[in-house]
Amino acid sequence: MIAYQFNWSVIWRNMDAFLHGLALGLGLAVVSLLLGCVIGLACAFARTSRIKWLDWPVWLYVEFIRNTPLLLLIIFVYFGLPQMGVYGLDKIESFVLTLTLYAGAYMCEVFRTGLASMPNQYREAAKAIGLTPWQRQRYVVLPVMFRITLPAVSNNLISLFKDTSLAAAIAVPELTFTARQVNANTFRVFEVWITASVLYLAASYVIAFGLRQVERRYASVR
């Protein structure tokens, strides 16, 4: 065993890059989650609606995305789209597109179970007081479903945040990519990866803590 001399000055000198990477990762995760929620909501309604031909394409999309590695999807979208004649997406946009599609599939499952676990009495009560179908969805189904699914949504945000580390594969300068570069430049292996781990951990915990407060505030009504 060699005696390892820790030298943290390398980290302090590159702290800006690390923090930028962290912020970029968080941004990517939040944007993808929000866009993914829109897709997921549409897909969940498509799957629970009585329109049969909407059902299987959505099912195929969800199952395909959920059973394929994210890294493969990232590389496929980044290198494959230009070959299909879609130009003009830079690496960040292409990554956001992939992560959005990925999040959409997961959110679809979350919202679908949310819709399924909603007591039917809510819909009946809404009907009984004479709300139109649109109002029923807008004022009764959606708010209750969001409360039910909130914990699952926040878990998804955290795992999406961790998944942004894969953007390093297409050179998006987020935290993992930065760590890899600093590692290659300085070879301070332990300092670099400890810093990256601690930053990821701290960020995940802050997100988890914040979302738990939100959950407590809007706790599901049972």
Binding site: M1, N67, P69, F76, F79, T164, S165, N183
Partner: protein
């Protein structure tokens, strides 16, 4: 469409057949080692999380939370560069197995803990009442019931682990994704080759999830 000429998709697959088949075997092998080691270690850690004295519990809790809070990719880099730095020569394959296996163990530990704690207290009390000591109580009463609860999340974790093996392409393990990338670098058939690789992963994982869904239905009668 079904031409095996050089420059067609099937022809290029034929040229790369050995590389792709080896890579597929590597992916399956990686997944197998990761899932088996992660499950065994995770089950042990899960039992520790429920029953052990508090210092052990705290230790395992910290391990599990740290592992679950760090992206797998960072763990992989940590093991890969870290071990090399201590002059411990482990191939990329095995350092990958260790990194993802450790990650898998943490997830399994949480699952097992949840399953054990979801078994009603009455079961433990009944076992105690007929004079069973700790180990038989765990082995004959608690774990068989917990195992059924573990199955659906276990399958989910297994699918995630199969997907995570692709990350090892970044440290140079020639598994399906890296072999596909190498083939694509030769013939530039990006869409066809990546779709084919995605289809292979889909087949593996979809089979796993269907087995999981079947077992979930099979044990659905176990409601308290």
């Amino acid at each position: 469409m079904f031409s095996f000429e050089r420059g067609t998709f099937l022809g290029e697959v034929w040229i790369a057949r050995f590389s792709l088949m080896n890579a597929m075997a590597t992916t399956v092998e990686l997944s197998f080692y990761i899932i088996v080691s992660g499950t065994l270690l995770g089950a042990l850690l899960g039992v520790v999380l429920v029953y052990a004295a508090w210092p052990f519990r705290l230790l395992v809790r910290v391990y599990v939370d740290v592992m679950r809070g760090i992206p797998v990719l960072v763990l992989i880099f940590f093991w890969f560069f870290g071990l090399a730095f201590f002059k411990i020569h482990v191939s990329a394959f095995w350092s990958g197995v260790m990194a993802i296996g450790a990650f898998c163990a943490a997830h399994m530990a949480e699952t097992v803990r949840g399953a054990i704690q979801s078994i009603p207290q009455g079961q433990t009390e009944a076992a105690k009442a007929i004079g069973m000591t700790f180990v038989p109580r765990l082995w004959y009463v608690i774990l068989p019931q917990a195992a059924r609860r573990v199955v659906p999340p276990w399958v989910n974790t297994a699918v995630e682990m199969v997907k995570a093996t692709t990350l090892l392409s970044i440290i140079g393990v020639v598994e399906l994704l890296l072999a596909t990338q190498q083939a694509v670098a030769r013939n530039y058939m990006i869409i066809e080759f990546y779709l084919a690789a995605a289809f292979c992963f889909f087949v593996i994982n979809f089979t796993l999830s269907q087995i999981g869904a079947y077992l979930e239905r099979r044990f659905a009668y176990m409601r308290y």
